[in-house]
């Protein structure tokens, strides 16, 4: 009798893990929209972020608009902080935070302000900062001084 139960247990165990994996695969949505009121809501055909394959978070570029839709007052430092507030809200809505960001692209109206921007930027990435590309553009939406887009990866 004991041997029978032991045999049953042994054969059941792999079956359970196969069923669990199959369920996980079908639950793995290939594309999920992130939408939070804590960041400016989309005003066009885009999402604040898309989570792909349940793990890879592609964030739309953020500019220094507050959730109420108004551009924050001030210069590059104030705008950079607002951009990061917006990014944080979207990251948290996606289930992660700044330590999960693997890549950013920083678009600036004036690269002469790079070091001021960089000093603010650095405070959000204390260790293992993400990969990054930075360049000067001619113009950003709403004539913002800075736009930052990011890619994050959710833990497994």
């Amino acid at each position: 009798m004991k041997r029978f139960y032991l045999l049953l247990l042994i054969t059941m165990f792999p079956l359970q893990s196969v069923v669990a994996k199959a369920a996980n695969d079908t639950l793995q949505i290939f594309k999920k929209e992130i939408r939070t009121n804590n960041a400016p809501l989309p005003i066009g055909p885009y999402s604040q972020a898309i989570v792909a394959k349940g793990r890879y978070v592609f964030l739309s570029g953020q500019i220094a608009i507050r959730p109420d839709g108004k551009m924050v007052e001030g210069g590059i430092e104030e705008q950079t902080r607002q951009v990061f507030d917006n990014l944080r809200a979207v990251l948290q809505a996606s289930g992660c935070d700044f330590q999960n960001v693997v890549k950013t692209t920083v678009l600036m109206k004036d690269l002469n302000e790079f070091s001021k921007m960089n000093a603010v930027y650095a405070t959000y990435f204390k260790s293992e900062p993400p990969a990054r590309a930075t360049f000067q553009v001619v113009r950003l939406p709403k004539d913002a001084l800075i736009e930052i887009e990011a890619i994050a990866v959710l833990p497994e």
Partner: protein, 127 residues
């Protein structure tokens, strides 16, 4: 690990790049598309014609890969003039009608290849 996607229905690469690259993990990275027709000529007309041509080039590559616009998770829009954004935005939106739209960044650059007015790159994920 990676595979080249290539279709005759979008402009052929004229340099060291592929129209798109797919990975084992089901990611498709599409090169920036500009408003050339499949023969390699800039489409006639203005910003509307250029925006449609770009979206149609993207569609041709997606089709070759067995995907649709619904598989796109992220785009980047490069404009020669931010003043054209509203028009581009409206045309772009038509191609994602009824779908969850991808994440996006948009900005004005100093100059685009062949002095076109719009370029769009995209990342797609297989379902």
């Amino acid at each position: 690990m990676k595979k080249e996607i290539r279709t005759q229905n979008a402009p052929q690469p004229i340099g060291p790049y592929s129209q798109a690259i797919s990975t084992n993990g089901g990611f498709y990275f599409l090169s920036g598309q500009i408003p050339l027709n499949a023969e390699g000529k800039i489409v006639d007309g203005g910003i509307e014609e250029q925006a449609h041509q770009v979206m149609n080039n993207i569609k041709a590559i997606l089709t070759e890969a067995g995907l649709s616009f619904d598989n796109i998770v992220k785009t980047t829009i490069f404009l020669s003039d931010m003043g054209n954004f509203a028009v581009v935005n409206s045309i772009y939106g038509e191609y994602f009608k009824g779908m969850v739209p991808p994440a996006r960044s948009a900005f004005q650059v100093a100059r685009l290849p062949l002095d076109v007015m719009v370029e769009i790159e995209s990342i797609a994920v297989a379902g």
